[in-house]
C-alpha cells in the first residue's frame, strides 16, 4: 500500500529527474547534433538519438577548420594568463593573509568594483594602449587582459586558503633559519597546494570563456585566433553546418567539463569572492 511517505519520495525523485533533464538537455542536444547525419538534423519530429552516430564528424571538422591551432592558442592564452596571475596573486594573497597592511581590507571593494567594470568599456582604452605597445594580434594582449580578470578573484581565494594555515608553521621554519620568503615558498605553498590548484583552474575557466577581448585584439591575426573566436566565425554564413559547429563546440567544452568536475566543491569560494566580509 502506498503511504504518504512513498508518494513524497516518488514526487521528489520525479522532480529532481525532470529538473536535471530540463536543465542539462541543451548540452545533451549539442552532442546529439554533432553526431547526427545532415538529413537527421532536418527531420521532424527531431530524433533524440541518431540511428547511426557519425563519430567521424570530429575528424572532419578538424580537417576542415584549424581547430587544433585555435585550441592551442586558447590553451596558451589561458596558461599564460593563469601563470601571470598566480605569480602576482600568490604573494599578494599571502601578504594580505599574514600582514596587517593599510588598504588591505579594501580588497573586497576592489573586486566588487572590478565586477562592475563593463568589459566593453575597458576594451576601448586597452585596444589603444596595446596598439601603442604593438601587442594587437599577439596572444600577449589577451594574456594581459585575462590576467586583470583573474588577479582580483585569485588573490581573494588564495588569501582565504592561506588564512586556514596556522602561522606557527612558518614561524617554526623561520626559527630554523628560513627567510620569510623562503618560509612562504618551502613551507606554506606545499600545504596550500589544493587551494592553489583550485584557484588556478578557476582562472583557467575565466580565460577559456572570454570572447570580448579575443574578438577585439585578435580578429586581424587569424593564426592567433582562440577557439571561441574561431567558433563564432563558423556561424553566420548563409547555411550553417550545425553538425560541424556542434562538433567544434563539443571539443571546446570537454576541457572545461573535466575541470568543472574537479572544481565543483570549490566553486562557492570563487563565486562569492569580494561579496562577503
Amino acid at each position: 500500500m502506498m503511504t504518504r511517505r512513498h508518494i513524497r519520495r516518488i514526487a521528489l525523485y520525479a522532480g529532481v529527474i525532470l529538473t536535471c533533464a530540463f536543465l542539462v538537455f541543451p548540452i545533451y542536444w549539442l552532442f546529439i547534433t554533432a553526431l547526427s547525419p545532415p538529413d537527421a538534423l532536418r527531420a521532424l519530429p527531431p530524433r533524440l538519438w541518431p540511428e547511426s552516430p557519425r563519430w567521424e564528424v570530429f575528424s572532419e571538422v578538424l580537417r576542415e577548420r584549424p581547430i587544433l591551432l585555435w585550441l592551442k592558442n586558447s590553451v596558451l592564452a589561458a596558461l599564460g594568463a593563469v601563470a601571470l596571475s598566480m605569480a602576482v596573486a600568490i604573494p599578494a594573497g599571502y601578504a594580505l593573509s599574514r600582514f596587517r597592511l593599510r588598504g588591505g581590507e579594501s580588497l573586497g571593494l576592489v573586486i566588487l568594483t572590478a565586477k562592475m567594470l563593463p568589459a566593453t568599456l575597458l576594451v576601448i582604452p586597452l585596444f589603444v594602449i596595446f596598439r601603442q605597445l604593438g601587442l594587437i594580434g599577439s596572444l600577449w594582449s589577451v594574456i594581459l587582459a585575462h590576467a586583470t580578470l583573474i588577479v582580483p578573484f585569485s588573490t581573494w581565494m588564495l588569501k582565504g586558503y592561506f588564512d586556514t594555515i596556522p602561522q606557527e608553521l612558518e614561524q617554526a621554519a623561520m626559527v630554523d633559519g628560513c627567510s620569510p620568503v623562503g618560509a612562504m615558498i618551502r613551507v606554506i605553498l606545499p600545504v596550500a597546494a589544493p587551494g592553489l590548484a583550485a584557484t588556478a583552474l578557476y582562472g583557467f575557466i575565466l580565460s577559456w570563456a572570454d570572447y570580448a577581448y579575443a574578438r577585439t585584439f585578435l580578429t586581424s591575426a587569424q593564426s592567433n585566433w582562440t577557439l571561441n573566436l574561431g567558433i563564432t566565425t563558423m556561424r553566420g554564413e548563409y547555411i550553417s553546418n550545425w553538425a560541424s559547429i556542434s562538433a567544434a563546440c563539443v571539443l571546446a567544452t570537454i576541457p572545461v567539463l573535466f575541470i568543472y568536475l574537479f572544481l565543483e566543491r570549490y566553486l562557492v569560494g570563487g563565486m562569492t569572492a569580494g561579496a562577503e566580509k
Binding site: 542536444w29 597592511l101 568589459a119 566593453t120 568599456l121 594602449i129 620568503v181 565543483e264
Partner: protein, 300 residues
Amino acid sequence: MRLPTLDLARPSRRHWLGYMLLAPAVLLMLAFVAYPLFVSLDISFQDVGIVRFDQPRKAFSTANYERLFASPDFWNAVIVTFKLVVVVTVSCFALGLGTALLVNNSFKGRPIARLLVALPWAIPEIIAVVIFAWLFDSSFGLINWILIKLNLIGSPVNWFSTPGAAFSAVATVMVWKGYPFVSIMALAGLQSIPDDFYNAAKVDGANAWQRFLYITIPSLMPILGVSMILTMLWVFRDFSIIYTLTGGGPLGSTETLSIMTYEQAFGFFRMGYASAVGIITLIICIVVSRLMLRRAPDNL
C-alpha cells in the same frame, strides 16, 4: 631573496615585506585596469574617432555626453538593458532557488544531481549561444517544433528577425547560463542553516510552510542579496551572449548599453562617443549596487 640593507625578518620591518609582496598585483591592476579606466574617462570628453597616442590630444568637450542624452538610441538601450536585467534576474532567482530547494532534500544520487544542475555555469557563453541558436532555429529548431506541437504557436517563429522573439531568445540563454550561480549560492546558504533551528520550530508546532517562511527565507537573505547584485551586474555588462546571438538586433530590440558601447567603438569607430556610453553604464552599475547595498548593509 636576500636584501643586505633591509633585514625583513626583523619584526619592525615585517610590514615592508608585506607591501613588497603585494606590489606586483597592485602594479598590474594599476597598469591594466586603473590607467585604462582613466584613459577611457579622458577619451569620453574628447570629440574623437580612432584614438592614437602618437597624435595630440583633442580639446576637452562635453559633446559626446550632449549627443548621448539627445539620442533616442541611447534611451532605447537604457530601457532594453533594464528590461533584460529585470527579466533575467527574476527568472534566474525563481529557477535557481527552486532547484536549490529541490536538490537540498536528501535522496540517492544527490551529488550527481548537484553536479548536473550547476553544469551550465562551466559552459563558455559562446558555446551556450551556439546551442540555443540551433534550438531556436526557425526551420528545424527544436523549440519551434515543441511550441507548434503544444499548439502555442500556429506557424514557426523567426526568432532572430522579430524584436520581441529575439529578446526572449537572448533572455532564455542568459537565464540558462545564469541560474546555476544562484542555485549554487542558495544551496551553500541552505546547508549553513543549522538543523536545530528546524527542530526547535517543529517542537513549537510550526508547519513546513511556516518553517520555510520564518527560518529558511530569513537565513538565506544575505546570500540571496549578494547573488542578486552579482547576477544583475553580470546582465548589465554582458557582451558575448547578446553580440554573438543577435548582435543587438533586430531594430535595436536587444541592444543593451554594453552592445551599444562596443558597436560605437569598433563598428563605427567613434571611440569618444562609445567611451561616454561605457562611463554612463559604469555609473549606473555603481549607483544600482550602492542602492542595493544600503538595503543590506550587514551583508556586504
